[in-house]
Symmetry: C2
Subunit: 218 residues, 2 copies
């Protein structure tokens, strides 16, 4: 369970069959995809059917963390042990091939299967979320009070049943299509950081993590 | 069902309770969120549990379309009538509030509930996908042959049970926190188009939709 250098075992659910050469089962790839994300999509079923909820996420060690209001549907059902599938997808570009059916996308995706468990130390976990957003900010903000913490549930899911799929690079066409006279290549898509927008009532100086924001790739 | 000017009815599944002021039930918002996306996350359950699969999507009228290999798990179960929840989320920024628990994100998300149905006219549907990627390209590529079309299933889901949630703008803090001495504002995230990368073996001239790519916001 804790051999983080070993590849993730492929289970009935995580063994990738479609374009299997794009499958990645190493934890370094899984960690990088999660760490590059601010949100994930959490799928689970309740008495009304299957749901798919976007929510903030972060990673600590071999767990993916989320949080939510105690009264929300997602928190309620995940706490009751509903099986979840958490997916993160970064889209990196459109792949324009010479033939229609070889068109593709470049992407990095991660899927995590399992059941969430409640996190007892909510203070430490939500401080880690703040660090994921902006290192140093946790010490500057008005900290959560007992009432706010009491209304919030923090949950985590083990990364032990997970798989990634990554595609990058040029189109792959069939040999007999290589002379078809159409432009082939990649149209990149990139998530970038825009210039920070201060609140109109802000009077505080710009902290270093805000000043540095737009200079870095997201 | 076809009154596209009327708001979407809120059902047990689509009525938004958390931060309900961010809910949107108008079809114009729903269409805009889908049309701005190249991919969605499709949640459904099979005999192995709940899954959450990223896949290309596009819209025609009041349906969201996807496609996939006939042999894949997703196509197989959706064709059997598995209930699905399709979610699209565009992340627009991190919202830095003065207090920990008022931090948020700016985003545009759409959720669609229902069951997919097979699309008989795969040629027309996949031409619409190509138009979503690059208008004009459909006439230039090596078209799909009978074998390729036969191996692919196109599915669509009605937009009749759907809801959107949109947050934009500045942080919203409690009145008593407004003087807390910390920077407050938004750190924007933007999906942008990078410079096209021609395949190393490309010999075709650059079409207008490729030339125009990097000049437009994604």
């Amino acid at each position: 369970m804790n051999d983080t250098a070993a590849p993730l075992p492929a289970t009935d659910r995580t063994r990738i069959r479609r374009v299997a050469e794009n499958a990645r089962y190493d934890r370094a790839t899984l960690h990088a995809i999660i760490d590059a994300a601010y949100l994930c999509h959490v799928a689970f079923a309740d008495d009304k059917g299957t749901h798919n909820i976007p929510t903030a996420c972060w990673r600590e060690g071999e767990h993916l963390y989320i949080h939510g209001s105690n009264g929300g549907r997602m928190v309620k059902w995940l706490l009751q042990g509903a099986q979840a599938c958490v997916t993160i997808t970064h889209l990196d570009g459109l792949v324009l091939a010479r033939s229609a059916f070889n068109h593709s996308m470049n992407y990095r995706s991660a899927m995590v299967y399992g059941r969430f468990e409640p996190v007892a130390d909510k203070h430490a976990a939500l401080a880690a979320l703040m660090d994921h957003i902006a290192v140093g900010r946790q010490a500057e903000i008005r900290a959560g009070n007992d009432k706010e913490f009491a209304a919030t549930t923090v949950l985590r899911i083990s990364l032990d049943e997970a798989a990634c799929k990554v595609r990058s690079g040029a189109p792959v066409d069939d040999a007999e299509d290589m002379l078809h006279p159409v432009w082939a290549g990649v149209l990149p898509l990139v998530q970038v950081r825009g210039a920070p927008v201060a609140d109109t009532r802000n009077t505080a100086p710009v902290p270093s993590y805000v000043a540095a924001w737009a200079a870095q790739p997201a």
